[in-house]
Symmetry: C2
Subunit: 391 residues, 2 copies
């Protein structure tokens, strides 16, 4: 499991980009808890983010991995860091109401001479709680705590050739997952049995490349449940004349390629087909705006204008950045396709163009993971862009 | 997907227990973000915890579900709440650096007459960030913010008969997952292909009961990687004369039953067999102490004393409470089996007795999910308690 996913020069380039942004913001140091940022900077990989941990980066030397003592073995196995830069805290700090692991981090920060530094923390990350903040504030009164939420995520926006290669492998996997749905789904099948087949395809991988775990589980509601976006599954049988959307992702080496399709068993009502046509036309309009120099909001505007012409409305964002990710979100939490997001598109940026419609009586999701190229955008997947109808 | 998992009297009992503890602490209201607490109080289920959301509870009336507008449809589908008590915020708040969803929650809290109340928040929960805290503090200067981390988790410690039934169904599933490992694992098999089979079994379910998603993915390191506890998988083939542990869980209706076993392909070295014997004897000693009236630390002391006699050491906790859970942790984050945890055991409490050993050259995990009974403890699973050796 020694990490050979990326070369040392690639890690060095990541550190340099991140340090440049730290310098712009006047930060002496940065502490990241987002597992995807820990992985991107230091190579760390493991399901240990249910305890407090992080990576500390200054302007000199290697990053420092800090976490639960038992996980320092995992840091030795998966990162490129020297043992001096892997620091574990005592297990008595784990989920103990009487003490907080950030007391230990405070000692580390002081020991590294940063007790009066200006340090960025990811204040709005899942893995940086209010208690973590309050403990550090109390223990490090001299530290100037700055909000560095998504600082590293933004450095990850433009993907390297190796990262794109991993995303394309993940794309092959999610294509295969949709093929399995087409092959296996039938009236009367228990939903969980279909999900079992989807999982099997997802982890088996495709084209010889293994499947890693997606950062979200399959979201697969049917019928009225599909008026809601994030319902998972149970054992209710698939029914005739019912739609089910499959919001799923392939993953390879933690890189995510989400793509949704909608299955209809039987003959779809006209309204459903109208919604399909509206979405397909609006996707084309959106994709035309997906090119370097345009802005995120240009894609949303083109999509929404076209959708409205056909009598449909969508009041939520229709896309977001994707790449390396850990639960609970396969997005990068930086750019969104929506009015007001004026981020300029650049070649190598990757998005989930996610124009889902949740209607009064069901949902339609037909979505495309894309990469911005020198002249426009490529869809990462070749899954047929249409309702998946099995009569 | 309308929730029929629990009766209304069961929900009423949960609210009453929680309100009693709120009264003890002098809380006018409680806001929970832990998805398992949202589910336990209100029935809510969905993979939407990657955005800010929660459940607000006062001493009167129903709880209030608050979250992203698009997820209010999911709240209507999965909770027992009236529409008035399902409140959604505008999508422009989602992952937008210029505004924070907690601005909207602050308005809700004020609108419900709580702008000068004493309110408990789960300050050390994954889904309550430092920014969430800082935004509420700024927007609600009159609110007295109290730390209510795990307040609800503690009310969940003793399981109801229905909850125990769901955990027993999950136990059947994890037994089946270990059977699949025994049936399928062989030298040369790609690890991810074995994981695909494990996932398939996990979601297919067992004894006619469907499998839900476990709150952690399989952690399945081999050889030296098994010196670390939380490494997942890749496509390296299973090798002869190598051990692999499988830290996995079955899940049913979000109730988790984790259990670990260790596979050895070939003939295990004597040290490995010695470790197995030491762990098995120490498990017996621990289980003897697992009975009402004893304390969590009594189990740890019995386990560690016996382990030490055999020449092995474990410096981390050897168990924790389990039940209803969502990623990233299948534990309940209340009780731990370790020195200093003086919680008194009661019938109906459920734990993962997790006496894993991570040695210099590999790891052994043989673990038991248990329920405290009137007179002792029952193991929830019947998986053979031994190394799984395939020569």
């Amino acid at each position: 499991m020694i990490d050979h996913s990326f070369t040392q020069p690639e890690y060095a380039a990541r550190l340099a980009k991140t340090r440049a942004e730290m310098a712009t913001r006047g930060l002496d140091a940065l502490f990241v808890t987002d597992p995807s940022n820990m992985a991107w900077l230091a190579g760390y990989d493991g399901w240990s983010f249910y305890v407090h941990q992080g990576v500390l980066l200054t302007h000199e030397g290697q990053p420092v991995w800090w976490g639960r003592a038992m996980d320092s073995a995992g840091a030795q196995r998966t990162t490129y860091l020297d043992d001096d830069n892997i620091v574990g805290y005592d297990d008595t700090y784990v989920q103990n109401p009487d003490k907080h692991p950030m007391e230990d981090l405070a000692r580390l920060i002081a020991a590294r001479g940063l007790e009066n530094a200006r340090i960025g923390f990811e204040l709005d990350n899942y893995y940086f709680t209010a208690s973590a903040f309050l403990t550090l504030q109390t223990r490090l009164p001299g530290v100037n705590i700055q909000n560095a939420t998504a600082l590293v995520n933004w450095q990850r926006a433009v993907k390297s050739p190796t990262e794109l290669e991993y995303m394309r492998r993940a794309a092959r996997i999610v294509e295969r997952m949709h093929e399995v749905i087409r092959e296996k789904a039938e009236v009367g099948m228990r939903k969980n049995d279909l999900i079992a087949d989807i999982y099997h395809a997802s982890v088996s991988g495709a084209h010889g490349h293994w499947g890693d775990y997606p950062a979200c589980v399959p979201m697969t509601p049917s019928g009225l449940d599909a008026t809601a976006p994030h319902i998972t599954w149970d054992d209710a049988p698939l029914r005739n004349n019912e739609g089910t959307f499959f919001e799923i992702a392939g993953a390879h080496r933690r890189y995510q390629c989400p793509q949704s399709r909608t299955l209809f068993l039987g003959k779809p009502p006209q309204k459903y087909l109208d919604a399909e046509n509206a979405v397909l036309e609006a996707i084309d309009a959106g994709l035309e705006q997906a090119k370097p120099g345009n802005r995120c909001e240009d894609i949303a505007r083109a999509f929404n204008t076209n959708l409205r012409k056909r009598g449909f409305e969508k009041d939520s964002r229709c896309g977001y950045a994707i790449g390396l990710s850990y639960p609970p979100d396969w997005g990068e939490r930086t750019m969104s396709f929506r009015a007001g997001d004026t981020t300029v598109l650049e070649p190598g940026m990757t998005f989930h163009f996610m124009p889902a419609l949740w209607l009064d009586d069901g949902g339609i999701e037909i979505t495309e993971p894309i990469v911005i190229t020198e002249t426009g955008a490529d869809c990462l997947c070749t899954t047929p862009r249409a309702l998946m109808i099995k009569e």
